[in-house]
Every structure is written in C-alpha cells, then in structure tokens.
C-alpha cells in the first residue's frame, strides 16, 4: 500500500507503542536535483523494517543502517548524501543532487 506522510508518522508512533525501537529520518536540506523535497520522512525500526522515503530509493539502505545505530545509541545524527560523498558512503544520488538527512530516535 502507498504510504502517505501521515501514515508514516502514525506508523512511527504505533511501532514505538508496540515496543519496537524506532527512528525517524527527515530530509532537512537539498541542493541541486533532489528526488524528495525537504520534510520527507522515512521511519525505521530496529529490525530494519521501513516505511516512506528520503530519496528515490538510492540511499534508503544506508539510512536504514545508520538509523539502527541511532536507535541503539539514542544519539541523533545528520547524514549527507551526494556525488561528493560517494566514497564515504558507498552510495550516492544518481540524479546528481545532494541531500542532508536528520536521523533521530523516537523515545
């Protein structure tokens, strides 16, 4: 089923209330051609289940991995993806843009 913004945020609340470790990733800045606008959300649980998107599918895998760290440590972080960061992250945006994603634990 297609997830709308409110479905994603509702899932974050429901998953947390069900006792799962949950992180919320939000696109906070974009430069150039970015696949999803600022404010787009991806919710992730500690088993790697996710709903929503922060890109066209290019960087979600890396965000999920980082989010599981955030769930464990409780410390939020800012991730940056783009052409320049390809070597650092082993992922990049084929569209040529750069995005910054804020990942925080739901606690």
């Amino acid at each position: 089923m297609l997830a709308r913004d409110e479905d994603i945020l509702k899932a974050a609340e429901d998953w947390r209330n069900a006792g799962r470790g949950v992180a919320l990733a939000t696109v906070v800045e974009t430069w150039g051609s970015a696949p999803r606008p600022v404010g787009s959300n991806l919710v992730i649980d500690n088993e790697g289940n996710f709903l929503g998107s922060v890109s066209g599918g290019c960087v979600e895998g890396a965000v999920v991995t980082e989010a599981i760290d955030v769930i464990e440590s409780g410390k939020s972080k800012v991730l940056e993806f783009g052409v320049a960061d390809e070597t650092a992250w082993q992922v990049g945006l084929s569209c040529g843009g750069t995005i910054r994603v804020y990942v925080e634990k739901v606690s």
């Binding site: 509702k10 609340e13 800012v78 804020y102 925080e104």
Partner: protein, 235 residues
C-alpha cells in the same frame, strides 16, 4: 523525537490542523508549535511564512540554526455528484493520497455498490457539507449538471475558500450558472475562482479521461500556486 511530541503531531494532523516541529539538529532539542499558537511565538514571522508557503526548511534564528517542519493537512477532495466521471475520479484521487467524499442526494447514484471504498453521503449539499469541515486544503468539484445540487455545493466551496473549485458544464452552461450565482450575491472575483469548463484541456472524451483532466488541474492548483494566505487561521 519524544513520543509525546509525535503523538500530539499525529493528533493534530488527524484533526486537519497545521502544526510545526522545530528542531535544533546539532543538539537534538525539539519543540512542537500548533498553528493556532504561533501569534505568541518568538519565531512568529518565520512560522507564519512557512505556513503560508507550506514548505519545511532550515532557518537562521536568534537561537541559532533550526530545522522547521510544517505539517499542513493533506489535501482532500469533495465531489458533488455520484456520476460516471466520479467513479473514475475517486480512485485516481485516492491513489494520489486524497481523502475523497462524494455527496449526491439521488440514492440511485449515491450507492456504496457504485463506489466501493469511498465515503458516499446520499444527502442534499446543505445537509451533507457543513459537517465535513470543508477547508482551504480541500479541492471541490461539482459534477451533477443539476443546479439544485451543484449551485449550493459551489456556494459552500467558495465560502470555505477551497484551493480548487471546479464545475462541469460547457461555456454556455457555465454562463447560465454564473448568472444564477450572481443573483445569489456572488461577485465576479468569486466566480473567477471556479474552474469551468472543468479540467485541463487534453481533449478528454471518456469519463475516465475527463477524470484525469480534472485531477491534473487539481494537482496544478495545489502545486503551482502557493497555499493561500493562512492569516485567518493563524489569527
């Protein structure tokens, strides 16, 4: 994000009220501001602008750089007329994330069988529409061809400042409709807000094609023009 902030956010969204989340991405400090409360907020001007634009983003403030997310209600579609076009328009709009409600007093048309998975209200507009809380995040289309149904529906949509208002009918039909609505007290500026003939000009012929042209015009109204001023809501 604290669970209580997330809960309030979801509650406000479900009630179709705009809400902000303000985050210091360096420290993780976060707070929620309801649109109704921005007048007294230190960031009033910034929040007001973001609400009007419906856009989230980074802002430099006296407290440092913060990320402001503005959550405006999801768009909704109200259709007057449980007609053939509506049978295609409703599922298209639902696929685009719109909540869809169909109003038509003619019970032969407004049946759940004809519209599975859509909220259908078999009542006259004056009964059906007031409880729906039609707002400026609502697109409104009148498709019955029957002035007894379409006219009161359009008057309601204009009074509620819907972001898109469309009415089915040829130029000739629409000219007659304008005469009636003017007699009901509407100004030329009000009437200019009604998209008629309805839909983008893509040469649509079949009911499904007309539905696509209407939906395309609704998306254009939502995305190509900034959200109308929210001052009344913020005051």
């Amino acid at each position: 994000m604290k669970l209580d902030i997330l809960h309030t956010l979801n509650t406000e969204r479900a009630a179709r009220r705009a809400v902000f989340i303000i985050t210091d991405v360096d420290s993780g400090a976060q707070r929620l501001v309801k649109a109704a409360d921005i007048a007294g907020d230190a960031l009033f001007e910034t929040l007001e602008k973001r609400l009007r634009m419906g856009k989230s983003g980074m802002d430099e403030t006296a407290q440092g750089r913060v990320f402001i997310t503005v959550h405006v209600p999801s768009p909704r579609l109200v259709i007057a007329g449980a007609v053939h076009i509506s049978q295609a328009l409703a599922p298209i709009a639902q696929m685009l994330g719109y909540d869809v409600t169909i109003v038509d007093p003619r019970t032969a048309f407004a049946s759940q069988e004809r519209f599975p998975d859509v909220k259908v209200i078999a009542e006259w507009p004056d009964v059906a529409l007031p409880p729906l809380n039609v707002d400026r995040y609502t697109a409104f289309v009148a498709l019955t061809h029957d002035p007894k149904i379409d006219d009161p529906a359009l008057l309601h949509a204009l009074a509620r400042d819907c972001f898109y208002i469309g009415a089915l009918g040829s130029k000739k039909t629409h000219a007659k409709r304008n005469d009636r609505l003017k007699a009901a007290g509407l100004t030329d500026a009000n009437l200019a807000r009604i998209h008629a003939p309805i839909g983008l000009d893509i040469g649509a012929i079949s009911p499904s094609e007309i539905a696509v042209s209407i939906m395309g015009e609704i998306v254009q109204s939502l995305r190509q023009k900034p959200a109308r001023t929210a001052k009344a809501e913020a005051a």
